[in-house]
């Protein structure tokens, strides 16, 4: 075990035998109950003081004929609202949230690494921790912060020191990626988009074949689920880069849906 690892307890503790560690116990009363009690008191004091000092917001009565600009979802959903910049509502509002929930529930079944069970370690499970922290901190928490503080009227981007000008003019110069690549006919563009998406996901079987020795203990079905979820998450990042960097609107355009 690398020495930079943050394992709970001292090196002495990790040096103990498994039997010693599992059986090194203390009474719940008072050692745990007093901590829980202290925690409850601290949270209660914070909540009471906060509730005395800061009032809950209440705006004008509900009026369906006056739409505020910007109209924002509750703050914890602003990461999803941010996705609307990059995807159509059926993706941003339905498919991706579903995949987030399903993907989270799948974590214990697709992470087959037996190490790091019950203690802090980065060294022993780099990929799992990197993936989770990227999804949680960058794609969720940061998007919530950005949606709350940096998105103004028209869902336009404003720096903290900028005035939220409702008349800010932003040129809408987005074009579809197949058009940028020179495809002009309708079906040519659709085919180009489909190929691009297929190529993106073709990395999954390609990686499996390349690393088939290592994949033996993962299993094909588990790998396919794991890799699809991962490539979809990275696909969100790819679409964001394309949209912000190259003004790409859609990658795939079909008569029924666009991605």
């Amino acid at each position: 075990m690398a020495k930079e690892d943050k394992v709970v307890g001292s090196a002495d503790e990790m040096a103990k035998t498994s039997w010693e560690r599992v059986n090194d116990k203390v009474h719940v009363w008072p050692y745990l109950t007093r901590l829980e009690f202290m925690c409850a008191i601290i949270i209660t004091i914070l909540l009471v003081v906060w509730s005395i000092v800061i009032d809950a917001p209440l705006e004008e009565p509900a009026n369906p004929s006056v739409t505020p600009n910007p109209s924002k979802a509750p703050w914890y959903f602003l990461g999803l609202q941010e996705l609307l910049v990059y995807f159509d509502p059926w993706m941003a509002g339905v498919v991706l949230p579903t995949l987030i929930i399903v993907g989270l529930m799948a974590i214990p079944f697709i992470d087959v690494n037996p190490k790091g069970n019950g203690y802090y370690t980065f060294h022993e499970r780099r990929f799992a921790i990197f993936t989770f922290l990227f999804g949680f901190l960058v794609l969720w928490v940061w998007m919530v912060v950005q949606g709350t503080f940096l998105r103004g009227p028209g869902w336009n981007f404003f720096m903290p020191w900028e005035y939220w000008d409702p008349h800010k003019v932003v040129a809408l110069t987005n074009v579809d990626l197949p058009y940028m690549l020179g495809f002009r006919s309708y079906w040519g563009q659709a085919a180009c988009g489909a190929v691009l998406i297929l190529l993106w996901y073709a990395t999954i079987p390609a990686y499996y074949i390349w690393r088939r020795e290592r994949m033996k203990n993962v299993g094909l079905v588990r790998y396919l689920i794991k890799a699809s979820l991962n490539m979809t998450m990275m696909g969100i990042v790819a679409k964001m880069v394309l949209r912000i960097g190259l003004n790409v609107k859609y990658v795939l355009v079909t008569p029924w849906f666009n991605i």
Binding site: G9, L58, E59, T67, P108
Partner: protein
């Protein structure tokens, strides 16, 4: 004639209370600090018996657990209590809802305080649940044999967001209806089931009869939506969440207690 001081012998009074049949019928043992009593304190108490009597030494360290699961549950309890108080004053009717909030704020005793507690505890609970998930992930506590409890936890996280979202509409102000409008507009883009979603025309859903209108009880966020969200917020979701919480806590014990290095 004994003096007043002798007649007010507090120790004797205390003893006569503690030794009385009534007291002893409720509390089986005292607070003597003996190993036997420490065990009894936990197993003889309905609220504490969720705990084991002994726990692994590392598991009581705050820097291991962050206490976030417990904080989430505590905030849930505060939300139940303050929520019930708010229900005494609040009517989920288009004509009354906003006025009832105003009444709560200006006339009801501690009304503003109860509303503030409810709102801030709700926001805090969302953050506490996220941090709890982060901690459980970082300690790898979802790994066998605790996979299923992680799944329950993800469901509880989703329910917490739904609770907060349904409650967001109830003040019936501009903030409420437009936030819920933005949120529920997504439902009409549901593939197959939403009127503006992919393949909608194949299924034949219309704006009046699709996934969104089933949620809203109409084509806009109106009074029927208010009633629906009220019922979801006060009955349906808390009930499901409470059931899943029982499973969640029970599974912690059944899966071998709190995780730790083996």
């Amino acid at each position: 004639m004994p003096s007043l001081k002798e007649r007010l012998n507090l120790d004797q009074m205390k003893r006569s209370v503690l030794d009385s049949q009534v007291w002893r019928s409720m509390f089986r043992h005292g607070y003597e600090d003996t190993p036997r009593n420490r065990v009894l304190m936990v197993v003889d108490n309905l609220w504490l018996h969720l705990h084991p009597t002994k726990i692994r030494r590392h598991a009581i360290r705050i820097r291991f657990t962050w206490c976030m699961g417990g904080v989430t549950f505590l905030l849930f309890l505060y939300l139940v209590v303050t929520g019930v108080v708010l229900m005494f004053y609040y009517r989920p009717v288009g004509e009354y809802a906003y006025a009832d909030i105003k009444y709560l704020e200006f006339d009801a005793p501690f009304g503003m305080f109860m509303r503030n507690m409810h709102r801030w505890a709700a926001h805090a609970m969302v953050i506490a649940v996220w941090l709890h998930m982060l901690r459980v992930f970082m300690t790898g506590s979802y790994k066998p044999p605790r996979e299923f409890n992680w799944v329950i936890g993800v469901l509880l996280l989703t329910l917490t967001l739904l609770l907060s979202f349904t409650g967001y509409l109830l003040p019936w102000d501009q903030l409420a209806i437009w936030a819920v409008t933005v949120g529920t507009n997504m439902a009409r883009a549901t593939p197959l089931l939403g009127s503006e979603g992919p393949f909608a025309e194949m299924v034949g859903v219309t704006p009046r009869f699709d996934a969104r209108s089933a949620l809203l009880g109409g084509t806009i966020v109106g009074p029927p939506t208010l009633l629906r969200f009220y019922v979801l917020h006060c009955i349906v979701v808390p009930l499901i969440a409470a059931i899943l919480m029982m499973v969640h806590f029970w599974r912690i014990r059944k899966d071998g207690g709190i995780s730790g290095p083996l």
